[in-house]
């Protein structure tokens, strides 16, 4: 499994180096990640607060890269959020 993760990371690295990612691909990645993590409404709010739009097509360049970083951060947190069945009692 760790080996597969390593290969996947390497592939991503190679793809990044081989060809620049188009803005449309970035928008698609942001949208798909938001959908997969059920965070579309959070993304919509974040876009409105930061860029006064709720439409990803309205942003480009640095703003789009920032949206990608935001979505990546959100996805990591929701991915790391562990159901309590796994962690046992966590009452503080």
């Amino acid at each position: 499994m760790a080996n597969l993760d390593f290969l996947r990371d390497e592939l991503r690295k190679l793809l990044r180096e081989a060809q620049p990612i188009s803005e449309q691909a970035k928008r698609q990645a942001v949208q798909e990640t938001a959908k997969a993590t059920h965070s579309e409404l959070l993304l919509k709010y974040w876009l409105k607060e930061n860029f006064a739009t709720t439409n990803l097509d309205d942003i480009e360049g640095f703003a789009l890269d920032r949206a990608m970083r935001y979505m990546n951060t959100v996805a990591q947190m929701l991915d790391h959020e562990e159901p309590q069945e796994k962690t046992g009692s966590a009452r503080g």
């Binding site: 993590t37 059920h38 965070s39 409404l41 959070l42 919509k44 709010y45 974040w46 607060e49 930061n50 935001y70 951060t73 959100v74 990591q76 947190m77 929701l78 790391h80 959020e81 562990e82 159901p83 309590q84 069945e85 962690t87 009692s89 966590a90 009452r91 503080g92």
Partner: protein
């Protein structure tokens, strides 16, 4: 919870959202209406970073709009003792069968270099985002 709901319509809306299951996908309009005032945390063993911080939350009012726009993914507001105290509620509401928690919180916080006594009511409640359970926190200065 009833007393908080009586204090403020946003608390009443959050209580209603929570009683209907707290699932953002099932109640998108109610969830969206809360976002301006809401803070959301994603608690885990490693901490409870910000998943969302609305500009009209108490944190937004204290620290400003620019500050809260950069909070997503940040572990806390760098007030360790305060964070440890408030975090236990986030962990408890995301536990299986976790119930909403209503509290009054008072603390001295460093706000842009100035020490301020901050006192507020908060309602902490579980929010379902797909298969993830996160902790919503609605606050109002007391």
């Amino acid at each position: 919870m009833e007393s908080l709901a009586a204090k403020d319509s946003a608390f009443a809306e959050a209580v209603a959202f929570s009683r209907l299951g707290g699932d953002a996908a099932a109640q998108p309009e109610a969830f969206e209406n809360l976002l301006d005032r809401l803070q959301i945390f994603a608690p885990s063993r490693d901490g409870a970073p910000y998943l969302h911080c609305g500009h009209a939350s108490t944190t937004g009012e204290l620290f400003g709009r620019d500050f809260v726009q950069e909070l997503v993914g940040q572990p806390n507001l760098a007030h360790d003792e305060f964070e440890r105290a408030v975090k236990s509620a986030y962990l408890s509401v995301v536990a299986p069968c976790g119930q909403p928690v209503s509290q009054r919180v008072s603390a001295v916080l460093d706000v842009h270099g100035l020490r301020r006594l901050v006192s507020y009511y908060r309602l902490v409640f579980p929010i379902q985002l797909g298969s993830s359970t996160v902790a919503g926190c609605l606050t109002r200065f007391s």
